[in-house]
């Protein structure tokens, strides 16, 4: 059921592209500075750069006059999260209520050349899921799955906590037009970015309507000792536990030999 709904949503999103193409014929060409980011143990974050141009569409020779707007939405690997709220119960603070966010991006960046609310009308932004407020963050509410209103307290808290971790962001200055048709976007990746595929969705607007869209992706992989440890713990629990305890006993034994008094 969920899958069918998702398919329907995708189709509905795709419709306006097909519909608007003949009117403002343009095509997006993008290139990423790096399609593969390796996170090593001393990784403190990275800034990736996306370059691109606006080309006339097939058949057309020129592009329209007037300025374009560009919105880049980057979504990281999806995870389930639980947002919990503490309340005072009998004098002490206890987690009393929680909401589960199902298959939401671990990383979400909305980058544009000016505030998204100036780029298109609210309903357009909502339909295209542009902006942190409009991106669908599915919550499990009893047996149902649905996104709530943008000012739902759990949604607000979730987005705020993810922003604090630098994993969610919305920047109206991260995209810059070098010329009228050449642009660059900076994609900041924090140190604790999850490994996996990051989808990059680029949407071009002219006069409040989307005129072109393209997608690309980048891969984040972690290397080094710490990653090895994390993967071992997740995938081989028993072996990991046994090795950890063997390490502990060896250190205990070494200490007993080194500092032996009798």
């Amino acid at each position: 059921m969920m899958r069918r709904l998702a398919l329907l949503a995708t189709l509905m999103l795709a419709l306006p592209i097909i519909g608007t193409r003949p009117a403002n014929a343009a095509r997006l060409v993008v290139s990423l500075s790096n399609h593969r980011v390796e996170i090593t143990s001393n990784f403190t974050g990275a800034d990736l750069v996306l370059f691109g141009t606006i080309e006339p569409d097939k058949g057309a020779t020129t592009i329209r006059r007037g300025d374009y707007d560009l919105v880049v939405t980057v979504t990281g690997p999806r995870q389930d999260y639980r947002t919990r709220r503490k309340e005072r119960v009998a004098g002490i603070f206890v987690n009393t209520d929680s909401r589960e966010f199902v298959k939401v991006p671990s990383y979400l960046a909305v980058l544009s050349n000016r505030p998204v609310k100036d780029i298109a009308k609210p309903e357009t932004l909502r339909r295209l899921q542009i902006g942190l407020d409009n991106y669908i963050l599915t919550q499990r509410i009893g047996p149902d799955f649905a996104d709530t209103v943008p000012d739902d307290p759990f949604r607000v808290a979730f987005v705020r906590l993810k922003k604090d971790q630098k994993l969610y962001r919305q920047s109206p200055t991260a995209v810059t037009f070098l010329t009228r048709t050449v642009y660059r976007a900076e994609i900041p990746l924090p140190a604790d970015a999850r490994t996996g595929t990051y989808n990059i969705d680029v949407k071009l607007f002219a006069d409040g309507t989307m005129v072109a869209q393209t997608q690309t992706a980048l891969e984040v992989i972690k290397t080094g000792f710490e990653q090895y440890v994390a993967e071992g713990a997740a995938d081989y629990g028993l072996l990991y536990g046994v090795l950890t305890i063997l390490m502990a006993l060896s250190i205990g034994w070494i200490a007993s030999v080194m500092f032996r008094k009798d």
């Binding site: 603070f93 705020r160 028993l238 990991y240 950890t244 205990g252």
Partner: protein, 307 residues
């Protein structure tokens, strides 16, 4: 210098963790305790998730206990029969404790259980230590001798069935209280990130009348095994054991303990006990405050599942 803790998923200063290991190791060497009941709260206070702390201090405590266990093994001060019987309860308690831990974590109440348990445990132990320390200081000032009252010879515990003779400790006692004590220590150890020696030793002395010569070594046989079992079970059930954190703590702890042992030999016992008691009370108080004060942010997020 920053170090990334892969399971705790945070960057910390390596010298902070090493220093914590040294300090707690120093105290553990000085007082002959494992130090888990100080290490776990301190790590929680610097911001490591309580669940990761509890799972990760187990191997560190095991390392420090193994050093002590080997020393007692060489001296022959371990009652293997009694230790073995304690282990029956200990392993069962560890399994049950890990299960409760996993269950409470899934309903988001684990941090609360840890905080409440520490407030209770540290409050009681701290008050006992401080009053005992003050009494000892008063006694020393009056020039009196320490009260070496031998505990009464028989209690209701000696009336229980299933009696067994433990030759090395020269006691003849029912195995039921032995199992129960093992169970309690295993349960607390796996849920709270403590070895439990500071509770086990008084229980063995006052309830089972285990002589002082075998009590420490035999106790270590139990706590070492429960910590080994807790490490493996937490790794299997919850994937929460941070080996990098544990390793740094172990290195600090082992070195600190050596200095602690030396320092402990040259210091006045009663003042040390009073000092440790005050420290324990302060840590307990810090937990109590964190429960009562309005949190800076009532909301928190945790990852439930990775796709």
């Amino acid at each position: 210098m920053q170090i990334y803790l892969p399971i705790a998923d945070m960057s910390v200063n390596i010298f902070l963790i090493l220093g914590l290991g040294l300090a707690v190791g120093f105290l553990s060497g000085m007082f002959g305790i494992g130090g888990g009941f100080l290490m776990t709260p301190l790590l929680i206070f610097i911001g490591v998730s309580p669940a990761v702390v509890v799972a990760s201090v187990s191997p560190q405590i095991a390392a420090s206990l193994f050093t002590g266990f080997l020393a007692h093994l060489r001296r022959g001060t371990i009652d293997f029969m009694l230790g073995g019987m304690l282990l029956v309860g200990g392993v069962a308690g560890t399994i049950f404790g890990t299960w409760v831990f996993t269950l409470l974590r899934s309903v988001d109440q684990l941090d609360l259980l840890i905080a409440l348990s520490y407030v209770t445990m540290l409050g009681i132990v701290g008050v006992l230590m401080v009053t005992e320390g003050l009494r000892a200081i008063n006694r020393a000032r009056r020039g009196g001798r320490a009260d070496l009252r031998r505990p009464g010879s028989h209690t209701w515990i000696h009336g229980l069935p299933l009696k067994m003779r433990f030759k090395r400790s020269r006691i003849y006692i029912s195995v039921i209280p032995v199992w129960v004590i093992g169970l309690i220590i295993g349960l607390l150890g796996s849920m709270l990130g403590i070895g439990g020696g500071f509770m086990l030793v008084p229980m063995l002395i006052y309830l089972l009348r285990v002589p002082t010569i075998t009590v420490i070594g035999t106790g270590m046989m139990l706590t070492l095994t429960t910590m080994v079992a807790a490490t493996v079970l937490h790794a299997v059930a919850n994937h929460l054991v941070d080996a990098v954190l544990a390793l740094v703590l172990m290195i600090g702890g082992v070195i600190g303990a050596q200095f602690g042992v030396r320092a402990g030999q040259n210091m006045r016992g009663e003042w040390l006990r009073l000092l440790l008691g005050v420290l324990v009370l302060l840590v307990g108080l810090r937990f109590a405050v964190s429960l009562v004060l309005t949190p800076a942010d009532p909301y928190s997020v945790r990852v439930v599942r990775t796709q």
